[in-house]
Amino acid sequence: MPANLLDEPEIGEESKQPYLWTLNFGPQHPATHTTLRLVLDIDGERIVKATPYIGYLHSGFEKLGEHLNFNQYVTIVDRKNYISPPMNEVAWHHAVEKLLGIELTKRCQYIRIIIAELSRISDHLLCTGAAALDLGAFTAFLFAFNQRELIYDIYEEMSGYRFHPGYTRVGGVMQDFNDRVIQRVRTVLQSLPKALADMEKLLFRNRIFLDRMRGVGVLTREDAINFSCTGPLARASGVTIDLRKDAPYLAYNDFDFTVPYATEGDCYARFQVRMEEIHQSMGIVKKALENLPSGPVNVPIAEKFPMPDKGTTYNSMEGLIQHFELIMPNRGFETPREEIYAAVEGPNGELGYYLVTDGSQIAWRTRTRPPSYIHFQVFPHMIKDHLIADIVAVLGSLNIIAAELDR
C-alpha cells in the first residue's frame, strides 16, 4: 500500500534532510534471490528514493560472444537467464538462423516450441512461487518447485544436462526427441494442472497475499510504454504486445492461444497474467506434442552451417568434411556481412539479439536485449513512496534474474 496516505508532518524542504536515513539492501539478501543491491533513502518506513547498483555478476558475456562461434556460444546464452535456459537458446539460434537464411524443418520448429514453452512454464513457476515465498506463503512455492523438477527431468532426458541443456544447434537441435522425452513431457502435462490448482487455491483467496500484492507497485500503461517494458510486466499494465502473435516466428501460426492481459498494472495483475500464461503454454505444448511432425529434425548438411550429427560424421564422407570445416578454427563457411535484430517472446519479455557478422563463423557483435535489465530500471519508479516491506513484493513480481541483468 502506498505510504503517502499516512499522516505526514509538514516539514520544510531543507529541514527534511536530516530525517532521511540511508539503508543498504543487498547484494546478499534472501529476498533478492540473486545479487542485487539497492541503496534506499527512507523516511521512517517510506522509501523516498531507491538507487540500484548492479554489475556484481558482470562476466562479459557479450565480449565472449565475439570470440566463440555460433554453436559454442549456446553454452553462454544458457547462463544468461538460467531460470529458462532453452528460451535463450531458441532466441540466440533464431537470430543466427534468420541472418544465415536457414529455414528449419517442421519437426524442429515444433520441438523448439515445446522446449520454449516448457521453459516459459518453468520460469513463471519460479516467479510466482518465489513471489509467494517472499510474502510468507511457503507451500505454494513447494508446489511450483515440484513441477520445475519434472521440467528439469525433461531437459536431462533430451540433452543430458539438467540445468544448462545447450540443446539447440544452428539449423536444428543436438539430438532428436526420443520416446522417453515425450513420455516425460506427458508426465508434466498430467501433473501440472493439479499443482496449478493447488497454488491457486492457496493464493487467490489468501488474504495476506492479496493485501500485499494488490495496489502495490502500480505501473501505468503510459509508463510501461515509456520504460520499454515487455512481456508479462507490460501485459499486466494493458500493453498487449506478444511477439508470438505480432510477428510469429517458428510455427506459432499453427497454434491457437490467447494472450492474457490485465489493466491494473499492480503486482497481483502480473501474478495473475503469469498464472494464466502457464495455462496457455500448457495448451501449446499439448497441441505441439499431439501434432509433432515426423521427418528429419535437422536441416540437411547441404545447407553448410548445421553441425552434422555423430552418425553422419562417422559414416559419410560429406558429413566428415562438413564436421572438419566447422570444427577447425581456420576453416569454415562464409557468412553474410550483415546485421540483424531478431527477437522472440521470452518468459520475461522480448528477448532479442542484435547480431553483426563479418563473414566468419564468429559473430562480430552479439548484443542481447535482456528483459531483466530493461525491467529493473523501472524499479526505482515503482517502489517510490512504498514501504520497505513492499520491496520484496515488487521485486518478486518483476522477476529480475541477476545473471541476465549483469551478463
Binding site: I54, H58, F227, D246, E338, E339, G352, Y354, R367, R369
Partner: protein, 174 residues
C-alpha cells in the same frame, strides 16, 4: 503484388518525407530489418518525428557496435542502433547513428523515452560514447574505478590486468 501493398513502411516514409524532406537519412535493408542511417546532428529530430508523428511510441532496443577493423567498413567507427516499435501496427524500424573517435558524443534519447536511461548508460560503459543530455550518465555494469571501455574492439578479451591490480581492502584497513 505491387510494392505499395507489400511495403509495411510506406505510410511511415510518406510522413517522414512530408515532415523532414529529403536528405536526412539513408536506408539499407536486410530481410525484414529496415535501417535508417542518420547523422548524429539530426538524430533527435528524426526520433522525435518517428515517435510523435509516425506512432513509434516504443523504444524496443538500444545498443552500440564498434566497427574498428570490420572488413569493408567505410562508415563511422561506432554505431548506435535504436529499434523502434509501433505498438498498434507492430511495425519495426531501426535507426542507426554513427560517431567517431575521439570523444564520441551523441544526443541522448532520454527525454523521448525513459527506457533509454540504462540502455544508454550501458553503451557509455562499454564503448565510452557520451550521451549529451542524459541526467545520470555513470558506469553501470563495470565498477566506477574502471578506466577502459571493454566492448571496444581494441580492448583484449582477457583484459589489461585490471583484475589482478584491483585494489583490495583487507580487514585491518577497513
Amino acid at each position: 503484388m505491387s510494392q505499395a501493398v507489400t511495403d509495411p513502411h510506406a505510410t511511415t516514409f510518406k510522413t517522414l518525407a512530408t515532415v523532414l524532406g529529403d536528405g536526412v537519412f539513408s536506408t539499407s535493408q536486410y530481410l525484414d530489418n529496415l535501417r535508417l542511417h542518420v547523422p548524429a546532428s539530426r538524430l533527435i529530430e528524426l526520433l522525435t518525428v518517428l515517435k510523435n508523428q509516425c506512432g513509434f511510441s516504443f523504444l524496443a532496443e538500444l545498443g552500440g557496435t564498434d566497427y574498428l577493423g570490420y572488413p569493408g567498413h567505410t562508415r563511422h567507427r561506432f554505431e548506435v542502433h535504436y529499434v523502434l516499435l509501433n505498438i498498434d501496427t507492430t511495425e519495426r524500424l531501426i535507426v542507426k547513428a554513427g560517431v567517431d573517435d575521439p570523444n564520441p558524443t551523441l544526443p541522448s534519447a532520454y527525454p523521448l523515452w525513459r527506457g533509454a536511461d540504462w540502455m544508454e548508460r550501458e553503451v557509455y560503459d562499454m564503448y565510452g560514447i557520451v550521451f549529451e543530455g542524459h541526467p545520470d550518465l555513470r558506469r553501470i555494469l563495470m565498477p566506477e574505478e574502471f578506466t577502459a571501455f571493454p566492448l571496444r574492439k581494441d580492448y583484449p578479451l582477457r583484459g589489461r590486468g585490471e583484475r589482478h591490480n584491483f585494489q583490495k581492502l583487507s580487514r585491518e584497513q577497513s
